[in-house]
């Protein structure tokens, strides 16, 4: 591991100033991903700016009935917060489905959003990887890709984003606030992750050196009836091979409002707007749910070894929506 300096930031401006002065500096939150990547040499920071003592550890109600979540709130604290459990159950379920109790106690909200892909080629320095070493190639396209993307990928990168939390936040229309050397800014989470294209190394819309300060959840009555379901290769403590965050409001047997996001299928949490368009106003039944899933997955471009994900996601979407609708279509 490269030697590095360490500083604890006590105010946001100070932290941002330190990062602006050194392109090799990184913010340190829980360290669950960054420290791991430093051990393997994927990350080689010259300076770590520890942000956990910044005054960003609170979860507060907003004027419009939403929640404003500080970036250093741990995954555990967010998951068990009474208001989150009550009004955004899919978010609690997503958080609790991620990692282990130990890691959730360490990991922060900001860090979770910025975690890197677990693609084996990205973390293996002996391999080419367009995300880690731009222009070097993507061995996953013709190699190990059974857990790689089926939506929104390119020939340059087929890695998936590993966050569970991000999938729920995407369904819930969260907004990411940041502070940068040029001042504060905010970006909806659906625009936070950049399209892969030919620049898979550019992952987010954050300006260089920017610090995520908050994630805001708008009030969403529909979210009271929301769910996150994750499929993985073992019962617990594994990354998703597919996941769904959904919220459904039904009136007179028809879908009044639907929110749907898919996980582990793309380089970012995937908002399923094509599916939502099919759902909205349609009868809340199995045929509609299947049509919605098919509409979204029509854009899927599976690789030779991950075609199962298309079937998996179709079934998962139908199953979760059916559960939310409180009816059995079998």
């Amino acid at each position: 591991m490269r030697e590095f300096g360490y500083q604890r930031a006590h105010d946001i401006t100070g932290a941002v100033t330190l990062l602006a002065a050194d392109p090799d500096a990184r913010y340190l939150g829980g360290g669950t991903n960054l420290v791991d990547l430093m051990k393997t040499g994927v990350e080689r920071p010259a300076l770590l700016v520890d942000v956990r003592e910044l005054p960003l550890d609170r979860i507060e109600p907003t004027a419009d009935g939403g929640l404003r979540i500080g970036a250093t709130v741990t995954n555990s604290d967010l998951a068990v917060h009474p208001e989150v459990r009550r009004h955004y159950p899919a978010l609690t379920q997503a958080l609790l489905a991620g990692a282990s109790g130990q890691l959730r106690n360490m990991a922060t909200v900001g860090g979770n959003l910025l975690q890197r892909t677990r693609c084996g080629y990205f973390t293996d320095l002996s391999q080419p990887c367009n995300k880690r070493a731009p222009g070097s190639g993507c061995p996953a396209v013709a190699g190990e890709h059974h857990n790689h993307a089926v939506l929104g990928a390119s020939d340059h990168c087929v890695a998936v984003h590993p966050s569970d939390m991000g999938v729920a936040l995407t369904a819930l229309d969260a907004v990411v606030s940041y502070e940068s050397a040029d001042g504060p800014g905010e970006v909806p989470i659906t625009d936070f992750y950049l399209p892969v294209g030919d620049t898979p190394h550019r992952e987010t819309a954050l300006p260089p050196g920017a610090l995520i300060t908050h994630v805001t959840l708008p009030a969403a009555p529909v979210a009271a009836r929301s769910r996150y379901r994750k499929v993985r290769e073992r019962a617990s403590y594994a990354f998703a091979i597919g996941s769904v965050a959904a919220a459904l409001a039904i009136e007179d047997g028809r879908v009044r409002e639907a929110r749907l996001a898919l996980g582990a299928v793309a380089s970012r949490p995937w908002r399923a707007r094509a599916a939502e368009a099919v759902l909205t106003g349609a009868p809340a039944d199995g045929a509609t749910f299947a049509a919605a899933a098919d509409a979204e997955l029509a854009a899927a471009r599976p690789l030779p070894h991950n075609g199962y994900k298309v079937t998996l996601m179709r079934n998962l979407v139908v199953s979760v929506l059916t559960e939310l609708a409180g009816e059995d279509t079998r």
């Binding site: 591991m1 360290g31 669950t32 420290v35 009550r86 990692a99 130990q102 890691l103 617990s236």
Partner: protein
């Protein structure tokens, strides 16, 4: 302490099991390596060293964490509890005693991490935290019974290569029940967890 930005090491103080330890430390040192290699606290074990096995679990500010992904320098100012600090002098912690009585291990390598994790699991459950297998996470639903399924999920961050899981689940269930019975901090919040813990012990033993 405010080290110069260019410095790659610091003189730090770690508060471990109620005792202060002063040591110069290279920033690259994990809390795990500081405990084992610098402070001779070798009860905490190194398994995968990448956050996947839980053998290095310790408590930091009463929360369970993996010490292999924690930097020692970042742990300064926090209250660290390792397996060496969980017993009350010669009296084993109830979780330790339950692991001993119910054979919650085979080779013992993962045991310090299992015990530290289980102590936190019982506290988390007593505080009303739901888990991924809890049917309804709403606070109004109340804390879920600490069934074997709940224990397995909550302990999933601790791997045991010997496969002693069956008795580990029994030990955690029994300790949780005893906590509640003794009216410990955990028990005060979890009258329900008490009965559930015993149920789980019986169910797991069946």
């Amino acid at each position: 302490m405010a080290p110069a930005p260019s410095s790659t090491s610091s003189a730090i103080t770690l508060n471990i099991n109620g005792e202060k330890h002063h040591l110069p430390i290279d920033h690259r040192t994990t809390l795990l390596d500081a405990l084992r290699e610098r402070l001779d606290l070798t009860g905490t074990k190194k398994g995968c060293d990448q956050g996947q096995c839980g053998a290095c679990t310790v408590l930091v500010d009463q929360r369970r964490v993996v010490s292999c992904l924690s930097l020692a320098v970042a742990a300064e100012g926090r209250e660290i509890t390792t397996i060496e600090g969980v017993a009350d002098a010669d009296e084993l912690h109830p979780v330790q005693q339950a692991f001993l009585d119910l054979d919650g291990y085979q080779c013992g390598y993962c045991t310090p991490g299992q015990v530290c994790s289980a102590i936190a699991v019982i506290e988390e459950h007593a505080a009303g935290w739901p888990s991924a297998v809890t049917d309804d996470p709403a606070p109004e639903a109340g804390p879920p019974p600490l069934t074997p399924e709940e224990i397995r999920e909550r302990m999933s961050g601790n791997l045991c290569r010997c496969g002693a899981y069956v008795s580990i689940v029994q030990a955690v269930a029994r300790a949780a029940g005893e906590y509640a019975a003794e009216g410990s901090t955990a028990g005060k919040h979890a009258a329900e967890g008490h009965a559930a813990g015993k149920d789980a012990a019986e169910e797991a033993a069946a």
